[in-house]
């Protein structure tokens, strides 16, 4: 049985608006401490609060991978619409649990979303994969009860791993992406 844990509370999740709004509320007064006193000598505290937040701050709250993560999430969701024989060769429809597992897995690897593709298979699994320009290729195949990771790098022997915990599989996949094989 694949174990799914709650999102760690010590991390900020951009898809949860509450901590984001909290950050905004905290960020504005914090920036005031770093403003040049000379250039703003004639400004009142009230005018600081009414000043617009610099656009670069927006990127802190909406990381660059957001668009890719959303695209992948929507693609995963679209797999719910695949009925039996979706590939024309007798493929079964994907179980809800597999899509759910894949969604959880994606949430743990979202920072590499821009490099990922995702596909259904005809053997009751969903596959994430990436390939880098220096020939590192890896795929994570999400089943209902396990996740299998395969990777190959140039002419080196391919390696396989099997996990029954989503967190362990995601950590391995991220490390492979960072070229940390061990």
């Amino acid at each position: 049985m694949i174990q799914q844990s709650r999102k760690p509370s010590n991390r900020i999740w951009f898809d949860n608006p509450i901590p984001t709004y909290t950050l905004v509320a905290l960020f504005v007064p914090l920036t005031m401490q770093f403003v040049d006193d000379k250039s703003n000598a004639d400004k009142t505290p009230e005018s600081y609060i009414s000043s617009p937040i610099p656009s670069s701050s927006v990127n802190d709250f909406f990381p660059s991978y957001s668009k890719y993560y959303i695209d992948l999430s929507e693609k995963l969701k679209s797999f719910e619409q695949l009925g039996n024989n979706w590939n024309g060769y007798g493929s079964p429809m994907l179980q809800t649990k597999i899509i759910s597992n894949a969604t959880s897995f994606l949430s743990l690897i979202k920072e590499i979303s821009s490099d990922l593709s995702v596909f259904p298979t005809a053997r009751n699994s969903i596959q994430f994969e990436f390939e880098t320009i220096d020939e590192l290729y890896s795929e994570a195949e999400i089943f209902s009860e396990k996740i299998e990771i395969y990777f190959e790098y140039r002419d080196n022997p391919a390696e396989y791993f099997s996990f029954n915990k989503i967190e362990d599989a995601s950590e391995k996949f991220l490390r492979i992406h960072e070229s940390k094989f061990c």
Binding site: G88, Y89, F119, T121, A122, S125, E129, E141, Y150
Partner: protein
């Protein structure tokens, strides 16, 4: 056509459906997921047919088909896959690509086939 054996030089054809579910636009190639099937990978063997006959047959089965992937039987066997005829009443050209000992291909076999296959786009 030898009904009991798929010749090494026969090309194997598999449909790629219009929604490009199996096409990796990032890498401009089919994904190995295309070759992952619990029942073996269904293909159509060339037999003694021409390209146009094969295309007509594929389009009849898959209306609106965008294209097909092709892989040589010999290349599959070099990867230790089995290619076996699996003639059916509605499709005498049906064949299966299987893993060596298992029906399913290994990740490595699927990956290598994805790299070897050619995508033929229909006009």
């Amino acid at each position: 056509m030898n009904l009991n054996f798929v010749e090494d030089d026969e090309i194997l054809h598999r449909a790629v459906k219009p929604n490009l579910t199996f096409w990796s636009t990032k890498d401009n190639r089919p994904t190995s997921a295309l070759f992952k099937d619990s029942k073996g990978v269904s293909v159509d063997r060339t037999g003694s047919r021409s390209e146009s006959e094969i295309r007509s047959s594929m389009l009849a089965k898959f209306p609106g088909l965008r294209g097909e992937i092709q892989v040589l039987t010999l290349d599959s066997r070099k990867l230790f896959c089995k290619v076996e005829p699996d003639s059916r009443i509605d499709n005498p050209f049906h064949a299966l690509i299987k893993g060596g000992e298992n029906i399913q291909l290994s990740n490595k076999q699927a990956r290598e086939l994805a790299k070897l296959c050619k995508f033929i786009e229909y006009d």
